[in-house]
Symmetry: C2
Subunit: 408 residues, 2 copies
């Protein structure tokens, strides 16, 4: 029951020159389901990542950070589903490194050139033997045109694959941007989402890529929430192979703004696809908070609305129960909020102003907006000029069913 | 489907000398349902209150604070259900004051001697004409033995009334303590709960009562959460009539510790009854966080667990999906948390230690605890000596149903 999630046709997905992908079914949790994915990156590719700030962060996240901060250029990624390798203490780290060693061996690389990723159940030992047995098979199948299959092979409770691909002309060069993501529950990223991988064949210098990934994450994966539960494994990776001939060194270089916009659009699309496929979602909600005095307070209000179970169940019911939204604005933590300056719109309908129901508001107008599957909730705080936008979904019976059954 | 909520027999409820209660069906939202309640307090009664910190706080809350801070002693309360008089701007204040005037007129008091309370739907105009017509009828029925009926007449989505009554011997005097509360959703009080009223016939000086109510709220109504949604109308009121002959002026007086303990027990019982009757609840969970370095961090971890939809749905399913609890501890916002020092128990079963699953943990032991209807989740942070406890419930299909239907 994903909400307006568009899956592009397989033949419209552009391979990214310099990136090869291999996939196998290693039997990690279920038999005969593709669950192990290897990315091989051409020499010279720059790679940057942002990761969960959960203190119980998973072993592969710790290893990713270690390898990204080292001096060995990253040349491969290895991703398993079915097990998160989180809450697994020291032994988890040993196994995450064994994933890297096995991949390095199969590709003729140093193990520090490999980034490992795991997603699935927390607190279970990673079945490393099956992963080690699977890696050579995944590597044997490496090819440049397997993005579509990779979008499937990284799924867990996702009902649909998430993939984005485009080509843009920048400075006379054709630049390809293709990415995939996964995630449906335990989604309230802070630095990244469950898993997101975005590749381009532009060349981007390492320091610039590091800056860009944080800025792009803050407009995409760091602006979505399903249930407010921040995962232990959130990881978002950007890769720039350089094969297109476009080379960007600094943010003042010609072509930078266009490339940044194109990459941001891609990341936003992949992030919003996670919300569209959120567990049990029937509506996609954009929460835009305007006229705040700081980014922090705009986000506080946006997340307060986006996380309220009462707001989310009212949207599920298509009930314009607007008092619940006002209550969530009120408890967002802005101690000197003057409610008489706050305004609230549902879509284009002004529903509340001056601390109460707007005199011109009619229930049937609110009802009309609430029946849509894509809803804009807009709040003006009347305190300043800062805006922030967060993307979320409603809260349905299906969410409870999925999460009461997930392990069984 | 309330969880082990005990309703005392009507004939075991002790009237509080000095407190009279009158009730009527004013037709505020539904016909022929008792929905308007008046408390009349004897001269000399001290009264203190704590209220929601939601910035969209309701008109009656604003009027309560104004009247409590004035010089006129409080002599009456008037409480309606069916409409919260919240998000109603200036006109809401006018109507809250009209509730006070009508009550004052019927009882021969100054309107500043009356505290008004409203609970129900937000953002709808209060039907003040029906309330004004009902007040004389409620006053006409005043009597000392209507606590049981009052516990019913303040209900909204509550399925059961919440009432507590006891008598204790202190300094040779028989002291009566009786209270009622209401609330089932939009429960994450900060200063108080939806509505709670606790009366005693001890005499307690006004400054001491003011101090005590904050301390007692912080061990009871400020430690419960159902859905993390802080209401616009939370109010908790304590009344001390003095009729028992026990008089407490300062916290060094003889009898103070016993009275404080008895009142705290009463407030905890009334607060936990709200959780037991929470919308859709099937389990009552006590979240105890120990060995924290501050109260703030203990509460952050406790609420992070108590608010996690993934944790709450796992409890609904009786599934010991402990990774979800670890994830919630990890994202609670303690940036220097050393997960290797964190331990987690379900009931008496140690499930996680040293950053991972405890070596002696067996899934069937976790499963056994999860099947209970009362579950203790205990976390040791290994950072200091502070403990805090929060009470909450699971998250079920029924919660979604109730909140998707509430207005219809």
């Amino acid at each position: 029951m994903a909400v307006n999630l568009v899956i592009p046709q397989r033949n419209t997905i552009h391979a990214v020159p310099g990136v090869e992908i291999g996939i196998t079914a290693a039997g990690i949790r279920k038999k005969d389901r593709p669950d192990l994915t290897v990315f091989k990156l051409t020499a010279g590719t720059t790679v940057a990542g942002v990761f969960t700030v959960n203190r119980f962060r998973a072993a592969p996240v710790i290893v990713c950070e270690e390898h990204l901060s080292g001096s060995t250029p990253i040349r491969a990624l290895v991703i398993n589903t079915g097990n998160a390798n989180a809450g697994t203490a020291q032994e988890g780290l040993v196994r995450a490194k064994r994933m890297c060693s096995a991949t390095a061996q199969a590709l003729g690389l140093d193990e520090r050139a490999v980034l490992p990723f795991s997603t699935g159940v927390i607190l279970e030992p990673l079945p490393i033997d099956r992963i080690e047995a699977g890696i050579p098979k995944a590597v044997a199948g490496l090819g440049i045109d397997q993005w579509f299959e990779a979008a499937h092979s990284i799924m867990t409770t996702d009902t649909l694959p998430k993939i984005y691909s485009t080509q843009v002309q920048i400075q006379g060069k054709t630049v390809t941007i293709t990415g995939i993501s996964k995630g449906a529950g335990m989604i309230r990223p802070n630095m990244a989402t469950m898993l997101g991988y975005l590749a381009t064949d532009a060349a981007i210098s390492q320091p610039l890529l590091q800056t860009m990934i944080r800025e792009i994450a803050d407009q995409s994966f760091n602006r979505i929430t399903v249930d407010g539960d921040m995962s232990t494994n959130d990881s978002f990776i950007m890769m720039a192979t350089g094969h297109s001939g476009l080379a960007i060194e600094k943010n003042t270089d010609a072509g930078y703004p266009e490339l940044k916009t194109a990459l941001t659009d891609a990341a936003k699309d992949l992030a919003c696809k996670i919300v569209r496929d959120a567990e049990g979602a029937t509506k996609f909600m954009t929460i835009a908070v305007q006229d705040a005095s700081s980014r922090d307070e705009a986000l506080k209000v946006a997340y307060s609305i986006a996380h309220s179970p009462l707001v989310k169940t009212a949207f599920f019911a298509s009930d314009p129960n607007l008092g619940r939204i006002l209550a969530a604005i009120g408890y967002a933590g802005i101690n000197d909020l003057d409610v008489s300056k706050t305004r609230l719109w549902l879509g284009d309908v002004l529903v509340a102003s001056a601390g109460g129901r707007d005199p011109d508001y009619r229930e049937e107008d609110g009802q009309r907006v609430m029946r849509e599957s894509e809803i804009l909730v807009r709040v003006s705080l009347g305190r300043g000029k800062v805006s922030e936008t967060v993307y979320t979904c409603d809260f349905s019976h299906e969410y409870v069913s999925i999460n009461a059954d997930y392990r069984s």
